[in-house]
């Protein structure tokens, strides 16, 4: 704003600060809780200052986990989650890039029909088709496997649609120049379209990675072997410990570790965004 109105400025900042505090407080509590000793939570008050057991808690969770509650070590679950999220992300990007390329740049029968078919599936969330999908995966013998965890979640209308929209903004002369320069369709895709889409790929990578990482219902359904538990669903198992109260200090350590990778992915990809935004021009 151009005008300088100190009171309205102050007011606006107060509201913003209150909002930030509201969002950050649970995160803060989780971090604090993960540093407490075993007895703290039984007293009924929530400590707001860090305790001295941080290293013990995290090491215990990473190495052994809560075997009493049937949960494997967090280290293993983090690894499982990472593999699932990466498989979903890379699979989604590869498929949607190629299908958008086909829809935008090739003339084939029923092209528009296929586009709408893909577009319509945007309206169907995973939960709607979860029973038939489970049936298919079970019959294919993919329960308790990484393939079963990731493949059913790979098909993505959203990414296809976004890439289609982006490809349509790429000037047609670039394709023509490439044709005159002797580049076939795949060469054009690899040498020109992919480098130009790098910003979009980075953005979708973040979105898809978080989508894959946060999958809860699907891993819960198809994994019964603890070796394939993912961290987001594993946390749920920890909280429903059969005997006695949940060990909140350990659960919170797992929560903090589960929240870290998406943050890291965003931080890493953010640099790519900025780079992509400043270096390409349509």
């Amino acid at each position: 704003m151009v005008e300088n109105r100190p009171w309205s400025n102050l007011f606006a900042h107060l509201i913003l600060i209150a909002g930030v505090a509201l969002v950050l407080f649970p995160v803060y509590v989780a971090i604090i809780a993960s540093t407490q000793g075993p007895g703290q939570f039984l007293r009924g008050t929530l400590p707001l200052l860090p305790g001295g057991h941080a290293i013990d808690n995290y090491r215990a969770m990473l190495d052994t986990g809560l075997s009493r509650a049937g949960a494997p070590p967090v280290g293993l679950m983090l690894w499982n989650s990472f593999i699932m999220a990466m498989a979903i992300t890379i699979g989604k990007l590869a498929i949607s890039l190629l299908s958008a390329f086909a829809i935008v740049y090739f003339r084939f029968p029923f092209r528009v029909f296929f586009f709408w078919l893909i577009f319509i599936t945007l309206m169907l969330p995973v939960e709607v088709r979860i029973i038939p999908t489970f049936q298919v995966v079970a019959n294919l013998g993919m329960l308790n496997s990484f393939a079963g965890l990731s493949i059913p979640l790979i098909a993505s209308a959203t990414a296809t649609f976004l890439f289609r929209q982006f490809f349509m903004t790429v000037p047609e002369e670039l394709l023509e120049a490439a044709r005159v320069d002797g580049a076939g369709p795949l060469k054009f895709f690899k040498d020109i379209l992919l480098p130009l889409s790098i910003t979009n790929i980075a953005a979708l990578f973040v979105i898809m990675f978080i989508y894959g990482w946060n999958q809860y219902l699907w891993p819960l359904l198809i994994t019964t072997d603890p070796d394939y538990y993912t961290v987001v669903m594993g946390i749920q198992r920890m909280t429903t410990a059969a005997d006695g109260d949940p060990l909140w200090h350990l659960v919170m350590a797992a929560v903090v570790m589960a929240a870290l990778p998406p943050v890291l992915v965003i931080l890493f990809m953010q640099r790519l965004f900025v780079k992509g935004l400043t270096e390409t021009e349509k």
């Binding site: 000037p171 120049a177 040498d191 020109i192």
Partner: protein, 351 residues
């Protein structure tokens, strides 16, 4: 180096709309041909058909002795310069120039040598490592030219390459393109809607209108003897004035119009050929009222309305004539300055 032959080339969309209606043209080896016409006349479509970016509906296209109708653009041995340059935005200037060579399997040191030679010729050596975004409009234009030159193709196709530049740069690049083409002697097809570009660049002009050739000839032929009324009014600025013969006879033609060719009912007069001083030869006299005086420095344009007629007419004189708007002026036109046409056929009648 090759000639280009177009035989009955036609382009129709969905079998109905005809964008190009049968073009026959022989472009000699090393010739610079300019395709000129108003927007929508099919000149760009024609160029793109030669390039292979549009399919040919009918007719035959040969580059050299080879029939290339069904070949991919890359196989036709042509290079194209696009109106918006179409440089690859994520590649450096060097990579932009090298891309076509790489795809053709040139050796690395050959690529480097060729790019270096081309860059030197176009004076773009200093920005070989930059991206197109970091270049000015004129520099991008040079890179686009370079990308075409570096391949040493049989023919250059240029699609309004100067229309995105400012007026001053356009004149400069026009001169450079002409010099470059003279030096390299590569067959070139150049599309423009700018008749000044067309006149100054081409060895021959092809004037197109509604998908058909109106006239083919050297710039001076086309200027001095336009074959149709369309060419007469399209080439030359300000445009040629068209005066009905009946009107001129009514106003007293002094016998100047007596021996016009058969079928002439309208005559064209260039704005420069309407003189304010009476010449010694027999001449027409046209009376008119000055409506607007446009002083452009070295010359002036007089927008007049002919007496007893609603017809707007333009006259060009050198310097600034001592006249005021609203004044009645007399203009003199000699017989040799008249271009006789038939209004219905649009054709010139004295050929």
């Amino acid at each position: 180096m090759a000639s280009i032959t177009l035989e009955g080339l036609k382009k129709s969309y969905d079998g109905k709309i005809q964008a190009v209606k049968g073009i026959d043209l022989e472009v000699a080896d090393g010739e610079f041909i300019v395709l000129v016409g108003p927007s929508g006349c099919g000149k760009s479509t024609l160029l793109r058909m030669v390039a292979g970016l549009e399919t040919i509906s009918q007719g035959e296209l040969r580059i050299g002795e080879r029939r290339v109708n069904d070949l991919e653009p890359a196989e036709r041995d042509i290079a194209m310069v696009f109106q918006n340059y179409a440089l690859y935005p994520h590649m450096t200037v060097f990579d932009n120039l090298a891309y076509g060579l790489k795809n053709r399997g040139f050796k690395r040191h050959d690529i480097e040598r060729r790019v270096a030679d081309t860059a030197r010729m176009l004076e773009i050596e200093t920005f070989l490592t930059r991206k197109p975004r970091q270049l000015s409009g004129g520099q991008r234009q040079r890179v686009a030219m370079g990308r075409a030159l570096v391949r040493e193709p049989a023919a250059f196709l240029l699609d309004e390459p100067l229309s995105n530049l400012d007026a001053k740069l356009r004149v400069q690049m026009r001169v450079e393109i002409k010099q470059l083409q003279r030096r390299l002697k590569t067959t070139s097809l150049y599309v423009t809607h700018d008749q000044l570009e067309a006149m100054t660049l081409g060895d021959r002009l092809v004037v197109l209108n509604q998908g058909q050739i109106e006239q083919v000839g050297t710039p001076m032929e086309i200027y001095t003897r336009p074959a149709t009324m369309f060419v007469a009014t399209f080439i030359g600025s300000p445009a040629m004035n068209m005066l009905p013969v009946d009107y001129l006879k009514e106003r007293g033609a002094n016998g100047v119009l007596d021996n016009l060719p058969q079928g002439t009912d309208i005559v064209g007069v260039r704005p420069d050929d309407m003189r304010m001083q009476a010449p010694a030869q027999p001449h027409l006299v046209v009376e008119s009222t000055l409506e607007l005086l446009e002083a452009a420095g070295a010359e002036s344009h007089l927008y007049v309305r002919l007496a007893g007629s609603e017809q707007p007419t333009v006259i060009r004189t050198s310097g600034q004539p001592p006249v005021a708007e609203g004044e009645t002026l007399r203009f003199h036109v000699i017989r040799d300055a008249l271009h006789p046409f038939n209004r219905d056929t649009g054709q010139r009648t004295d050929c």
